[in-house]
């Protein structure tokens, strides 16, 4: 077995900011004021907020030490299913930091913002081409925000057509954001079961789809990593009842240059630029969740929209059927710059290769580990595969125990206990940027852990052993919340 990446080393303790604070310190050199002091009415002013007082080195050391307690894609393999933790190219950061982009004020006016508008217009075009749709909005700030925008467009469509509908079909494999987004539009979620091989069956949709149902929210490839092969037939059923098909594009990384969702019956699709298009996740955002639509929903796109006239670009708000605005300005422009740089760096072939290699990596993991871990759906997979802890039950070892033990080996665990349809799910998405050697190390680590489960299960239950802290008491955290220092 190769040497595993996880090891122990010196790690620093670091107190909370205010425990380091000493009255009189300040880590910023303040410019001398060159204008007179202008007093404000005492009824309006308050005390200075009680922020910590630190020197510059105090701040630098504090955040450097904190960062060392974190695991990122740059530290090691991060096979978190449905999250597409691929490499985040560093050149993208350089591009977004250019003065002309980073300093641009959103209300500078179209005439003085042509670079930003051109970039956004082009990015919309590229995303429309990749997904096979008519038009794209870049305004949503994250995937769930994109879902909300998509569902609001569907809501606006039915309102415009005279009769609102009350329900939406959502398969049991869906992300939790799907029903939550639909609920914000007042739609009742009707949970539908996927078939025994993990794929949604048209007959199930046919039996339940009616003229009070706005449509269906589908993730394709689904969260089991399987392609929904009957998508066209399902779309036909939904359309025949006047409904619309919402596509959750969180898993687009599997099918770039292979399938265009807009060609196969989907009416609206959101993308996650922080998944498929390589922008960093940042420990919880900021992401970006563009939404692509076909002709039916185009009039309902959020405003403002970018319109090209001859060689100039304009922000236009005059679309009477629009669903409205969902971001103060135009969305997460800084994230769009990164995704745009990624698409231009990859080109058509690069993106298609990325999807092919993402699928190759996932199938390689699936085949390599299927004797070690139970594989509930043994079918060719797309970009991710879902195992569970069935084989380890005899040793009373759970998915959580194995996930925590993986940390000691130097790997971020896969997504665990999702999708909900697989009991004890262990969902691996290697992404295309992991090399065969790194994946082999991961496979070896999982095999070693499976052996430990049989030979030394107590070790797994105590894992992780090498991290700064071990398993945390989440129950106590929720029972007596302490949300500030």
């Amino acid at each position: 077995m190769n040497q595993q990446p996880g090891t122990s080393g010196l790690i620093f303790n670091e107190p909370l900011l205010w425990d380091k604070s000493r009255d009189g310190r300040c880590a910023m050199s303040l410019p001398k004021s060159d204008v007179e002091r202008e007093p404000l009415d005492e009824n309006l002013t308050g005390d200075s907020p009680n922020l910590p007082q630190l020197s510059e080195l105090d701040v630098v050391r504090h955040y450097t030490r904190l960062s060392q307690w974190n695991f990122g894609v740059d530290s090691g393999m991060y096979p978190l299913g449905s999250c597409t933790m691929k490499y985040n190219p560093k050149t993208n950061e350089v591009q977004a930091a250019r003065q002309g982009f980073a300093s641009a004020h959103p209300l500078s006016g179209d005439e003085f913002s042509q670079g930003a508008l051109k970039l956004m217009y082009n990015l919309e075009q590229y995303l429309a081409e990749i997904t096979g749709f008519e038009a794209v909005t870049l305004q949503p700030a994250a995937g769930a925000h994109g879902e909300l925008a998509g569902m609001l467009m569907i809501h606006a469509y039915f309102a415009k057509n005279g009769k609102q509908r009350s329900k939406i079909l959502i398969p049991d494999t869906a992300h939790g954001t799907n029903p939550a987004s639909a609920a914000l539009c007042g739609y009742e979620s009707i949970n539908i079961k996927s078939g025994k091989n993990g794929i949604l069956e048209p007959s199930v949709v046919e039996a339940i789809m009616d003229e009070d149902t706005a449509g269906i929210m589908l993730t394709n490839p689904n969260t089991l990593g399987l392609f929904e092969t009957d998508i066209k037939e399902i779309a036909l059923i939904v359309h025949s009842k006047g409904g619309l098909v919402y596509g959750d594009g969180a898993n687009m990384n599997a099918i770039m240059g292979i399938v265009k969702p807009g060609d196969i019956g989907i009416d609206v699709l959101h993308l996650n630029l922080h998944k498929t298009f390589s922008t960093p996740h940042g420990g919880g955002g900021p992401g970006s969740g563009p939404v692509a639509v076909g002709k039916t929903l185009e009039p309902f796109l959020p405003i403002p929209r970018i319109v090209k006239e001859l060689d100039t670009y304009k922000l236009v708000t005059d679309f009477p059927d629009t669903m409205g605005r969902i971001h103060t300005f135009y969305g997460h422009f800084g994230i769009m710059v990164r995704a745009y740089a990624y698409i231009l760096s990859m080109g058509a072939k690069g993106l298609t290769d990325a999807s092919k290699l993402a699928v190759l990596n996932a199938n390689y993991v699936k085949e390599s580990l299927k004797g070690t871990l139970n594989l509930p759906y043994d079918l060719p997979c797309m970009h991710e595969c879902v195992f569970n802890d069935e084989f380890q039950k005899e040793y009373h070892i759970t998915t959580m125990d194995m996930a925590k033990r993986l940390l000691d080996f130097g790997f971020h665990p896969p997504t665990v206990y999702f999708p909900l349809v697989v009991d004890g799910a262990f969902m691996v998405e290697p992404t295309e940027t992991e090399s065969k050697e790194d994946i082999d190390q991961f496979i070896d680590a999982v095999k070693a852990i499976a052996r430990e489960a049989a030979e030394d299960p107590e070790k797994l239950r105590k894992a992780p052993l090498l991290t700064k802290v071990t398993r945390l008491d989440e129950v106590a955290a929720a029972r007596k919340p302490c949300l500030r220092g």
């Binding site: 002091r37 959103p106 990749i130 939790g176 066209k232 955002g285």
Partner: protein, 444 residues
């Protein structure tokens, strides 16, 4: 392609394990009629240096050059960003991590955001702050939904006409599918929200007032709190300039139930309007209604202090359709940026920066008055104020942008048609007296 590590040999041996002949065969599970036959129609791929040239060309089409002078605010502010902030925040352990679902290897993000939550509660005088939202507009819309859902009798929310125009639009987008409505509270000739008009409103579930308001004026929030108490409804405040609370009384001291704000001023680049930072804070009573992530302190199995995501039973991945919101990814890295900024400026720095913003804005206003602009309100403001421009200013303004890269105010007539030739000006600590004197000379 430098991001794809597979050699030809790797692909062959991996295909063998996967039981497939070729990369294309991996997609045999997809029916042929669903696949595309042509390759994607995208531009030729660029090398890194070609990309640099292309991107700089695009960036320079925006007028935001090195000698840039920004007298504009309205929700996006030009503040000095100390070098340590981008330096620390670009540490890849922060930048390339996912949401801290595995707390044992995420203590950096978790402690950092816990400290952020704490500093935001200090800044706003509130009990609880969430781990971030997309921007002020979406945070405010979520706050309005909380008020509406808590009130079984009323389905309207009263929102000040001096709340950022985009924020009012976002509230409308978020609440109208559920059958809720906005009623707008008009503004007075002093440039303040009309509390008398509010008193007369019936059947409202909550009140939302921005302070400093969109015209930059500081509202008397105690008057609105009194109305909310009489009507027994929630009082929501919002703000677009977080640095105002280095100087002004915080919203908590006026008894706000919920506070939504924009944190872009806290060390985050303007970046053509995003990503910024949505702030959302509440009283203890609202804890379980707040949408979005919360970090809490706890102990590990060995008794050591540590931090975890907590109260997840409010959230979509547990509650699905019954969740308090659909929010998942938020603006975590920008929250961390704001935390580094607040720790950098500290208690002393934030006061001085806030004072300088106010002082320079007052100086700018006086200078513009001397240059022929008309003051519109005599109401106290923080760093933004409204002026009526003399004839011919529109042309001078465009020339100033083209020739000097100076952006002199924002014309408000597209937001308030009654305010023809009215411009919203802003001055921050990045503007010098010399800049202001120069501007006053140019626009005379």
């Amino acid at each position: 392609m430098r991001y794809l590590p597979h050699t030809k040999e790797d692909i062959e041996s991996m295909l063998k394990v996967a039981g497939q002949e070729s990369l294309d065969d991996l997609f045999n599970c997809i029916p042929d009629d669903l696949k595309i036959t042509n390759s994607l129609d995208l531009p030729q791929s660029l090398s890194e240096w070609e990309l640099n040239v292309h991107m700089e060309e695009l960036a320079s089409l925006n007028i935001a050059c090195k000698s840039y002078k920004c007298f504009m605010g309205a929700g996006s502010y030009d503040h000095y960003i100390p070098a340590i902030i981008p330096y620390l925040i670009s540490r890849s352990e922060f930048m390339t991590a996912y949401t801290p679902y595995q707390p044992e290897v995420s203590q950096g993000t978790l402690q950092g955001i816990y400290e952020f939550q704490t500093m935001v509660t200090e800044l706003l005088g509130m009990d609880i702050a969430t781990a971030s939202h997309y921007d002020c507009g979406t945070a405010l819309a979520e706050a309005c939904l909380i008020a509406l859902r808590q009130n079984s009798k009323a389905n309207k929310i009263a929102v000040s006409a001096l709340t950022h125009p985009s924020h009012r639009q976002i509230i409308h987008t978020y609440i109208s599918p559920s059958g809720y409505e906005i009623v707008e509270i008009p503004y007075t000739k002093e440039g303040l929200t009309d509390v008398k008009a509010l008193e007369a409103m019936d059947d409202i579930a909550g009140i939302a007032v921005q302070s400093p308001n969109f015209f930059g004026n500081i509202e008397d929030l105690s008057a609105f709190k009194a109305v909310a108490d009489v009507k027994m409804i929630l009082f929501i405040t919002s703000f677009t300039e977080a640095l105002a609370f280095g100087l002004l009384k915080n919203p908590g001291s006026f008894g706000a139930d919920l506070v939504a704000g924009e944190g872009q001023s806290l060390g985050i680049a303007k970046s053509f309007g995003g990503p910024g930072l949505g702030l959302l804070a509440g009283t203890k009573k609202q804890m379980r209604n707040l949408p979005g992530r919360l970090i809490g302190k706890t102990k590990d199995a060995n008794g050591a202090d540590g931090f975890v995501l907590t109260l997840a039973t409010r959230e979509q991945h547990i509650r699905r359709e019954k969740a308090s919101s659909n929010i998942c990814s938020n603006n975590g890295l920008n929250a961390m940026t704001a935390a580094v900024y607040l720790a950098t400026v500290g208690k002393i720095g934030i006061r001085e920066i806030a004072r300088q913003n106010h002082d320079k804005a007052v100086y700018l206003k006086k200078s513009l008055e001397k240059a022929g602009f008309e003051s519109v309100f005599e109401t106290p403001f923080f760093n933004e104020f409204l002026m009526k421009a003399p004839a011919g200013f529109e042309q001078k303004r465009a020339a100033l942008i083209n020739d000097k890269c100076t952006f002199a105010g924002i014309c408000l007539d597209k937001f308030y048609p009654e305010l023809k030739h009215h411009y919203l000006f802003c001055a921050t600590e990045t503007i010098s007296k010399k800049d202001i004197d120069q501007l006053a000379k140019e626009v005379q």
